[in-house]
């Protein structure tokens, strides 16, 4: 198990390195001059030259990449332009702050949004999937499949905007979405995020219902499930301990992908609800040609997916001893 994990983590690190290199070269191929930004509005040519030197962009690309990488571990100093302590993902001259700091600042919003919605859609999706599988062809199953079809076909900005208009402005059952740190006001935190959670969950649940239902239907027909019943296990234990166990693998697979994607920045959701998370940060970075920030958000998005992959792989091994022991 330990060997399995080490292998996966090492693999993930290599992938992250490759992704950083690719994004780095991609972004620095864009003809935007970070030095001009760093230098400020009125910028005499000699100061610009100095800025270029301090930023290191007069160096060959490869050297730049290495110093960028080194910055992650030891930090960086941009002459008089700014200081960026380790882990340094670059310095944003738009925000006048190290990128890492901004990310850390925005992260809680995105994480709270993601985790809250994920808890709802995972539990709700799996539960409705199980019920639908047990009631195959009955009214409850049909209701579940119709609503999951609806859920799968609507778009977040559409439902989100509609929900905002109706629930917040018209009948006012929800607060205007807003992020309040949980440490400051737990109830405010909850109320501020409730509507985005529900809207996100509405859209994602459909997929979980569908996948849980189909794998449960399959698993309920497995021989070992029949054996469990033949040896007198109760109905509930047969469903939860035997059939569901086998259905977990595909659910966890898509859950990992969804979670990774959402942590990387729920751009549309955050925009719809006006939440200042990673997604909004990325949009702003594009607007202002803030390359270091943009690159960091792209890297974060990729990193989130890679990390979720490692976690999912390890969970496979926990769930299925055949994976662990092979």
């Amino acid at each position: 198990m330990l060997r399995f994990l080490t292998r996966r983590v090492l693999g993930a690190l290599v992938i992250l390195l490759i992704i950083s290199a690719v994004t780095f070269f991609l972004f620095y191929a864009i003809p935007a001059d970070p030095a001009r930004l760093a230098c400020g509005k009125v910028c005499p040519p000699e100061t610009l030259e100095q800025a270029r030197h301090n930023l290191g962009i007069d160096q060959p690309l490869m050297v730049q990449f290495v110093s960028w990488l080194a910055g992650i571990f030891v930090g960086r100093d941009y002459g008089g332009l700014g200081h960026c302590p380790a882990p340094c993902l670059g310095f944003s001259f738009v925000n006048r702050a190290p990128v890492f700091e901004t990310i850390i600042d925005r992260m809680p919003v995105t994480i709270a949004l993601t985790i809250g919605a994920a808890v709802i859609f995972l539990i709700f999706g799996v539960a409705t999937g199980i019920v639908a599988a047990l009631r195959q062809g009955k009214p409850l199953d049909k209701i579940a499949s119709v609503s999951s079809l609806i859920g799968a076909s609507v778009q977040i900005y559409f439902v989100g905007t509609l929900a905002m208009y109706f629930f917040v402005y018209q009948i006012q059952v929800f607060r205007q979405p807003k992020y309040i740190p949980i440490t400051e006001d737990p109830l405010g935190w909850f109320n501020g995020l409730l509507l985005p959670w529900l809207v996100l969950a509405l859209i994602f649940t459909a997929n979980y219902t569908r996948i849980t239902r189909s794998t449960m239907v399959e698993n309920l027909n497995e021989d070992y499930v029949r054996t469990a019943r033949a040896k007198g296990m109760s109905g509930r234990s047969v469903v939860l301990r035997f059939a569901l166990r086998g259905a977990l693998t595909p659910v966890i697979t898509i859950f990992g992908v969804d979670l990774g994607t959402l942590i990387g920045g729920a751009i549309i959701t955050e925009t719809t609800f006006g939440l200042q998370g990673i997604g909004r940060l990325a949009v702003r970075a594009v607007d202002y040609s803030d390359l270091p920030t943009l690159m960091a958000t792209v890297l974060l998005a990729a990193g989130a997916i890679v990390v979720m992959n490692v976690i999912v792989d390890s969970l496979y091994a926990v769930i299925d001893p055949r994976v662990r022991l092979s």
């Binding site: 070992y224 054996t227 007198g232 299925d320």
Partner: protein, 341 residues
């Protein structure tokens, strides 16, 4: 009798129509004895035995008749009551031990949980019992094997583990649904020996479902031959194998490899295909495939359905007079079905 099945009928309501999988089936099994149930694929062997355990989906399967285990009526009993009996008083082992064991739990867990569920003992007692059972079914190093997963076992070992799981609560009835079909020949013989030994020790009644008349000859005391969900012949193993009466049984015997079977004559399966269970042929369901129907007058085999007769002992469901069958048998040697066509 320990198990008494009377006039059992199982219908499945499907989109294509009602499948009459079992129709008016009666048989009994006593403690310490083995009933072999044989018949082609689709003749209703598994459906019958799943009905005994109460494992059919009540939404699609409609059952009628009576199934009495040790005097208690099982048909129509509430699920909770059946749950208490399954694994405890009656148990089943299946054809493919790999898919029939849970891949997610150790062999020990799967055996121990049955014992805990029905005997209410502690985890450690149940574990000890699991080790003891593994030892009894001949698994070496049971203390180590108890913590392994089914995929770490060989095919024969898995079936032994399955048997250990089925017998952990000392059930009065064991149903073995083709327990050796998925195993290779030498392992097959070992598993059958094991079942026989265990039966001698515990006096369990066994129902042995099989396609293989060799397995019947080796294990069964009594035999029930099924065709299209009905019993077409019943008797002791010797009676049915030595003096088979029903033309379908003749066909089955003709399709069976035997020591004195000449090598240059190929084995022939019973001619024709099994009938639809939605539109079962009227009269004797075997008549479309039977070579002897023409010996009887027209309309005889297609009219009324023949019942098993006589009611006790060696009986079969066919209109041919007993004397004529004996003649046919002696004319064609031991296996009249083969030469008849």
């Amino acid at each position: 009798m320990f198990l008494e099945v009377n006039d059992l009928t199982v219908d499945f309501h499907t989109e294509d129509g009602v499948v009459h999988a079992v129709d008016g089936l009666s048989f009994e099994v006593d403690r310490g004895s083995t009933l072999g149930i044989v018949g082609e694929s689709g003749s209703g062997k598994s459906v019958t035995n799943l009905a005994i355990l109460g494992l059919h989906n009540p939404d699609t399967a409609k059952l009628s008749g009576s199934i009495k285990l040790d005097g208690h009526e099982l048909l129509g009993a509430p699920q909770r009551e059946l749950e208490k009996l399954r694994g405890n008083k009656m148990a089943m082992i299946f054809q493919d031990p790999l898919t029939s064991l849970s891949p997610f739990h150790t062999v020990g867990q799967q055996i121990a949980e049955v014992y805990r569920k029905h005997k209410g003992v502690s985890k450690s007692v149940a574990r000890e019992r699991a080790i003891e059972m593994l030892d009894r079914v001949g698994i070496p190093q049971p203390k180590i094997r108890v913590d392994e997963y089914p995929h770490q076992f060989s095919g024969g070992m898995r079936q032994r583990a399955m048997i250990a799981m089925a017998l952990v609560c000392d059930p009065g009835l064991l149903i073995a649904d083709e327990p050796t079909t998925a195993l290779d020949v030498t392992v097959q013989a070992q598993i059958l020996d094991l079942l026989r030994d265990l039966q001698e020790q515990t006096g369990t009644a066994i129902i042995m479902i099989t396609h293989d008349l060799g397995v019947v000859a080796n294990t069964a005391h009594d035999v029930l031959v099924m065709y299209a969900g009905r019993a077409v012949e019943r008797g002791t193993m010797r009676e049915v194998l030595r003096e088979p009466r029903h033309p379908y049984t003749w066909g089955l015997l003709g399709s069976m490899p035997s020591l004195n079977h000449p090598v240059d004559v190929p084995l022939e399966p019973v001619r024709g295909t099994p009938p639809s269970l939605i539109n079962v042929p009227p009269g004797c369901p075997f008549h479309p495939r039977c070579d002897y129907a023409k010996l009887l007058g027209p309309g005889v085999c297609t009219g009324e359905r023949p019942e098993l007769s006589p009611h006790r002992g060696h009986g079969d469901a066919c209109y041919l007079p007993l004397k004529q069958k004996a003649e046919l048998r002696s004319q064609h040697g031991k296996q009249p079905g083969k030469e008849a066509s």
